[in-house]
């Protein structure tokens, strides 16, 4: 199953999905895309209108689905002006960069024998196009960490670590630099 946001399909099936809604479609011959659930461009979808399709609504649940990996993968479904204020869509290259960071983080917690379900970051799309990894709130009452995967070519990662006493901001390019931040979050440095 793959997800498309398209008006061409919905225009022909008004009872099934309204304009600009994400819809899941199932087709007999599935095109191959890297990365599983993949949003198609409008032109791609139009080309697939020749297939007999089943259409039903499966809009990604950004409110209750907190799975970090799934949220990262579904950033591709956010199209231009997704925030209503003119935000641009996320590129696959940008999301891949965030997935690389996610992999390093997951590996760190697994290697430390810590439950990733507890230490998994909350992922959120930023209005300026960055991707937020957040360890904050009730799960992390003493130390909070935010890492932003920006669209900048140099030093694409920014961070903010904060506790009750102080805040510290910085940026880095090497993914390995995230390890000291995670160690700080856990209170081990």
């Amino acid at each position: 199953m793959f997800v498309v946001r398209n008006s061409a399909i919905t225009a022909n099936t008004p009872k099934l999905a309204s304009l600009s809604q994400d819809v899941a479609i199932t087709i007999a011959s599935r095109p191959s895309f890297i990365g599983g659930d993949t949003a198609l461009s409008k032109s791609s979808t139009a080309a697939n209108n020749n297939f007999p399709i089943q259409v039903y609504q499966t809009e990604f649940d950004w409110i209750t689905n907190t799975n970090a990996f799934q949220r990262l993968k579904h950033l591709i479904t956010l199209k231009d002006n997704w925030d209503g204020y003119g935000a641009t869509e996320f590129s696959k290259q940008h999301i891949d960069k965030a997935l690389e960071l996610f992999t390093v983080i997951q590996s760190y917690f697994n290697a430390s024998n810590l439950s990733f379900s507890h230490f998994s970051p909350f992922i959120a799309p930023c209005s300026d196009g960055a991707i937020l990894f957040e360890w904050s709130g009730k799960r992390f009452p003493d130390r909070e960490l935010e890492i932003f995967v920006t669209t900048k070519l140099t030093d694409p990662f920014e961070y903010l670590k904060s506790n009750q006493d102080c805040e510290e901001e910085g940026r880095f390019a090497d993914l390995g630099c995230v390890i000291p931040l995670l160690e700080w979050l856990l209170g081990s440095n």
Binding site: S20, D61, W62, I63, T64, T66, R71, L78, N81, W82, D83, G84, Y85, G86, A87, F122, A124, P125, C126, S127, D128, A130, L132, E134, S136, G137, K138, E146, F148, E158, Y159, L160, S162, E167, E169
Partner: protein, 149 residues
């Protein structure tokens, strides 16, 4: 075009939230919602929460946060009243307030404009990660996103 409103420190500003920017289990917005050099808002003095929310829903935004202009000013931001205007010829938003804005056009390049949101304002300035966190921590949530079934 009517004269632009001078935003006062006591003014309340509405900011729409995308569901992905809201942490539902803690009922709070994240910093992600405020990370924008040109941060659009609705000026409460010029609209109502209900009207702002109706505009948000049309764009599939189903939550609204608010903060006082005083907060933005304390965080070294500038606040402009810049009504959303759409150029009839190109269907693009046009800003005529800030020459640095990505939507800026001078008077001579656009002719027919349609105002779609007279209460629109812009919180302009460099927003460090500390600044956007301050917005997220300090704002009030006026309308929470509905839980999806």
């Amino acid at each position: 075009m009517t004269a632009n409103y001078q935003v006062q420190p006591v003014d309340k500003l509405f900011r729409w939230l995308h569901p992905g920017q809201f942490k539902w289990d803690e009922m709070r917005p994240t910093s992600a919602a405020f990370r924008d050099f040109y941060m659009s808002v609705d000026i409460a003095e010029l609209t109502s929460l209900k009207a702002s929310y109706e505009r948000a829903k049309k764009l599939k935004k189903d939550a609204v946060a608010s903060f006082k202009a005083q907060l933005a000013l304390e965080l070294k931001q500038k606040i402009y009243h810049c009504p959303t205007q759409i150029c009839k010829a190109t269907n693009e938003s046009v800003c005529m307030v800030d020459a640095e804005c990505r939507a800026y056009k001078d008077d001579t390049s656009v002719k027919e404009l349609t105002c779609t949101n007279a209460a629109h304002g812009c919180v302009v300035g460099n927003k460090t990660n500390s600044v956007i966190k301050s917005f997220a921590k300090t704002c009030n949530v006026e309308i929470f996103p509905p839980e999806q079934s």
